[in-house]
Amino acid sequence: MTAVLKLGIEVLKMKEDIICRCEEITEQEIIEAIKNGATNVNEVKRWTRAGMGLCQGRTCRRLIERILARETKTSLEEITPSTYRQPVRPVKIGILKDEKE
């Protein structure tokens, strides 16, 4: 087999599904972070940026919790969820403008 073909097969075997759509982080990258010791959603976020995008993990945090549970063979209830912070959704700065100033 040529080297290129071998590489192609390796790539196909990788879990290329995108989990965090905002930051385009794949399942493979998340699994990699877990292998390197991440045990909760915040750690996965710090190491991969999954959940740091425009939607702030609203789409992916549940998926990441499941991947964590599966990879670390822990029950879903024991996975620490990510920190929630305001704003609940993106807010245009102009809306917060103080008219007095």
């Binding site: 190491w47 702030q56 102009g94 403008k97």
Partner: protein, 401 residues
């Protein structure tokens, strides 16, 4: 479980990881102990700046300059892209009084070798086309740089593990007992670790570790709240701070803003773009203990600062807020060195907002101190001993404007 080490480093934030790495490089057997996760304190909740211009002329600035040079070589050394970038920095000036203060500050910094100058309004607009008409001048330095703290931590960790680092996460220390020539660290589960030396790198929590061996470490948490914008193109050539930010940092009593909340929250405008395009709008400096909430009042003041300086931000979204505890020492300088009445117990903490800038140099200094190498700096100036002389503290507070 391995129990005997040369050095136990307590606190796996960016300072602890750096300290562990430079010790390992000297050949020591090192264990790194962490209560939560890696970087779960201030290191994971800060901005990304190696801001030289905000450093007090003197040892802090000298160390930052050396640290910057160390950062330049670090991607290669750690075999990890730490996303080092040099964009330069500007501290924008709104009135004549600020101009006088900054002129003084700049000329002092120049004496310590920082390349920095004051530029006029016309030149400010060349570099910051979106800035408000209301500013009158700005400082400018080409040296101010940035790194991604997460990548720096990743790099130190990976390289540390290669060099034999033992890391224990999610552990709780119950007791630290001095023995004849080593320390016994007893963990919550009654396992224990023996180490000849301990380095306390636990940032805002440093005083809690100090309590365990009966010493008073004058470091308290200062909460810094920061807003994150969506990813947008670069607005200007450099990152930007307000002269008021410098005042809030160096001498909060002098904040002139009429809004009492403004003063109470210690607000100064810091505006830097992270590598992925998000701008960080900071920051508060609050004495509220270990309360990590972000609140609407503070965020509102922060974004209003931002649109005051950059009206174009009216149309930009904020997507997140976060807060971290800056470990603030009594005189604004870090505490780095051995505790003389507790041989073998070292402190490397209290860097407040200067942590990221001082990471490589602090780790290196700790390794040099422990291996008794010659050190260029006057380490007495950073030793905890300095707080024993009360009048010295008052004096240093007075000069620090």
């Amino acid at each position: 479980m391995k129990t005997k080490f040369d050095v136990a480093v307590i606190g796996a934030g960016i300072m602890g990881l750096s300290t562990a790495y430079y010790l390992l490089k000297e050949g020591y057997k090192v264990v790194l102990l962490e209560k939560n996760e890696i970087g779960s304190g201030a290191s994971g909740a800060c901005d990304d700046m190696i801001l030289l211009q905000s450093k007090k002329p003197g040892i802090s600035l000298e160390m930052s300059l050396e640290s910057l040079e160390m950062y330049r070589a670090l991607s290669k050394e750690l075999n990890t892209d730490i996303q080092f970038e040099t964009r330069g920095g500007m501290i924008v000036i709104e009135d004549q009084e600020q101009l006088r203060v900054m002129e003084d500050f700049v000329s002092n910094q120049k004496k310590y070798g920082l390349e920095v100058e004051i530029i006029d309004k016309k030149d400010v607009f060349k570099k910051q086309p979106h800035i408000t008409e209301k500013i009158i001048a700005s400082t400018y330095s080409t040296k101010d740089s940035q790194v991604n703290p997460f990548c720096v931590m990743k790099g130190f960790l990976a390289k540390g593990i290669d060099l034999g680092l033992d890391i224990k996460r999610n552990i709780c220390i119950k007791e630290i007992v001095p023995r004849k020539d080593y320390w016994k660290i007893i963990l919550q589960d009654d396992h224990y670790i023996e180490a000849e030396k301990i380095v306390n790198t636990s940032g805002a929590w440093a005083a809690k570790i100090g309590d365990m061996i009966g010493i008073d470490i004058p470091i308290t948490p200062k909460k810094g709240q920061i807003c994150v914008t969506e990813q947008i193109p670069q607005l200007g050539e450099t990152n930007v701070w307000s002269a008021e930010y410098m005042v809030a940092k160096m001498n909060p009593e002098l904040i002139k803003n009429q809004n009492p909340l403004f003063k109470e929250l210690g607000i100064g405008f810091a505006f830097s773009q992270a590598i992925h395009g998000n701008y960080l709008i900071g920051s508060t400096r609050e004495n509220v203990g270990f309360n990590k909430e972000t609140n609407y009042e503070a965020l509102k003041l922060l974004v209003n600062q931002a649109i005051k300086f950059f009206p174009i931000l009216n149309n930009v979204h904020i997507i997140r807020s976060f807060a971290g505890f800056r470990p603030a020492s009594l005189d604004g300088k870090p505490i780095v060195g051995e505790v003389s009445e507790r041989k073998g117990f070292y402190i490397a903490a209290g860097h407040e907002g200067d942590g990221i800038a001082l990471v490589p140099i602090t780790g290196k200094l700790m390794a040099d101190l422990i291996s008794k190498k010659h050190i260029y700096y006057d380490m007495e100036e950073l030793n905890i001993q300095r707080f024993n002389k009360k009048e010295e503290v008052e004096k240093s507070k007075a000069i620090s404007v």
